[in-house]
């Protein structure tokens, strides 16, 4: 067989079981694909060039990999080799997967386009003049371009869902604490979530179930209360469409694709109603205060003494966020910024909890637009921050969200939608996602590269 790199994870597992091919052959085909096309899209910062006997997966470069360079896509860590694996990486290795390489991202995952990477932007496999999204842009592009079977990303304000949406793949931001953060180079500790990025929702579910679980090395992990909600077929399921997610600021072709998806699901037995998340407009300002504050504290560890280089080599966006966070935590401004933002954060969680009393899940676009041009938003940081308007709410509330493709724009760029649910409702979210993918084939489309 050839082109084993095109397989989904579920197809790979089945073929291995039936002895049609072995994991090493899949690994070799993926390496060949990387050699052939990665110079065009730049998904990988580092590759593992020895074919391994495991299903090849790509790991965002902020997750530690034992013996394999982990740079956070920042020049400050361009020589750092972790002596240990992140818990989520270790779990996947134990389950029979092998790391094929480390994927490009915005430096330390600060950004929404990978343009903040210290090594250059990842290009969107659907259109090389556009961004792959971010911050997990390399992981999304690697999956979309069949350079690996699946990938890991991290989502602090949308960094899994946004690039998944721009590249036409599926990706889950889990409930906060369900997947261990141990070995993740911390960005904002109350928001960071490692999660799966795959070719289908079904693949994401398999990966998620291997990744999740309590970890004594991360005291915030919490799965003890993870009660499996009844599956779709066993219940009447109502999905809310938040009216703020369909407002004037959202491109029509994005809104139309998501509405079409809702219509299709409605025809197939899912109930829909409009709901409201009235504090949506405050998500981005609250997020940037909290994220910068936590960043300024987390980034203090990079002194150049134990690993890496001097702080003056931080990329511009890293410096900007450290500055903003230090200011908003400083005496005289703490109440006005950090404390105020933390209070509004509670109102944002309240919005979601009220909505989930009426409906089981929520559905909406991931972003207001499809993938934008490289360089289009780099001159104005605020413009880039506004990309996060529909994604940051799930992080601030700690709830899970699944991005999956639901159509294409007039310029043949993928459009994505997200399914959000209450804390620990991943199973129900996957169920709805799988139902949608059984009715459509958007997720089967691949870029011609």
């Amino acid at each position: 067989m050839s082109d084993l790199n095109k397989l989904t994870l579920v197809e790979s597992l089945l073929g291995i079981k039936q002895k049609k091919f072995n994991p090493k052959e899949i690994f070799s085909d993926c390496l060949k694909r990387i050699k052939d096309i990665d110079k065009k899209i730049f998904s990988f910062v580092t590759t593992n060039n020895l074919p391994m006997s495991g299903i090849p997966f790509a790991v965002k470069d902020v997750l530690s990999t034992k013996g394999l360079k982990t740079t956070a896509s920042s020049k400050i860590l361009d020589n750092y080799i972790p002596p240990f694996d992140a818990t989520v990486v270790e779990k996947l290795k134990k389950a029979g997967s092998a790391v094929i390489g480390k994927t490009n991202c915005d430096a330390f995952a600060f950004g929404a386009s990978t343009e903040n990477s210290g090594f250059g932007p990842t290009k969107n496999p659907w259109d090389l003049t556009r961004v792959a999204g971010g911050s997990s842009g390399g992981s999304a592009a690697a999956v979309a371009a069949d350079e690996c079977i699946f990938a890991l990303g991290t989502d602090t304000g949308g960094s899994i869902r946004q690039p998944a949406s721009f590249c036409g793949i599926s990706g889950l931001k889990p409930t906060y604490g369900v997947c261990s953060r141990y070995g993740l180079l911390a960005m904002a500790s109350s928001l960071d979530c490692p999660g799966p990025m795959g070719k289908t929702v079904e693949d994401c579910e398999v990966i998620f179930n291997l990744m999740r679980g309590e970890d004594e090395k991360d005291a915030t992990t919490k799965t003890g209360s993870h009660k499996d909600p009844p599956l779709l077929k066993l219940r009447r399921t109502t999905v809310g469409l938040p009216k703020e997610f369909f407002s004037d600021g959202i491109d029509n072709e994005v809104k139309d694709s998501v509405k079409e998806a809702a219509k299709l699901l409605e025809k197939n037995g899912i109930f829909f109603e409009e709901v409201s998340l009235p504090h949506t407009e405050f998500c981005v300002p609250v997020y940037y205060v909290i994220v910068s504050s936590e960043i300024s504290s987390n980034m203090a560890r990079y002194t150049g003494a134990r690993f890496g280089h001097e702080r003056k080599l931080f990329e511009e966006e890293v410096k900007r966020r450290i500055m903003l966070g230090t200011y908003s935590l400083s005496a005289g401004y703490f109440d006005e910024f950090y404390l105020k933002a933390s209070k509004v954060r509670r109102l944002i969680l309240d919005d979601y909890q009220k909505a989930f009393k009426k409906v089981d899940l929520l559905l909406g676009p991931v972003l207001p637009n499809v993938a934008f041009k490289i360089g289009e938003k780099t001159s104005d940081p605020l413009k880039m921050y506004l990309e996060d308007i529909l994604t940051t709410g799930a992080n601030l509330a700690g709830i899970p969200g699944l991005a999956l493709p639901c159509g294409f724009s007039g310029e043949n760029l993928p459009v994505g939608m997200q399914i959000l649910g209450p804390h620990f409702s991943e199973n129900l979210i996957f169920d709805l996602g799988k139902k949608y993918q059984s009715l459509t084939d958007w997720h089967k489309k691949r870029p011609n590269i």
Binding site: P83, P285, A305, R306, G308, E310, R311, R320, Y385, G398
Partner: protein
């Protein structure tokens, strides 16, 4: 409106040990002022009796036994440093003699 002056940017740059260049100080003064101006819209939200939220899934004081366990070896812990001395990290002098 919170105007972040160049002096303030310079001061924060010192606190954060970022060694900002003059060009960066100038740029950040303008950009951070604009960002602060934008985030200030949160002040319009009534949060009178609302308590701050920092933990979303309800975890509180998670404890584990304080037991000695296997950890990195000294060699592994020092494997990424540019400067070590007799099995220790060697850092710049902090206190004056």
């Amino acid at each position: 409106m919170n105007k972040l002056t160049k002096q303030e940017v310079d001061h924060i740059g010192g606190l954060t040990n970022l060694e900002l260049t003059d060009i960066e100080v100038e740029k950040f003064s303008t950009q951070l002022t604009k960002i602060l101006d934008f985030v200030e819209k949160i002040s319009s939200v009534d949060t009178g009796n609302i308590s701050p939220l920092t933990q979303t899934t309800g975890s509180k004081n998670v404890f584990r036994e304080d037991a000695v366990k296997e950890s990195l070896t000294q060699k592994e812990a020092l494997s990424n440093t540019a400067s070590s001395y007799m099995g220790l990290f060697k850092v710049k002098q902090v206190l004056e003699k």
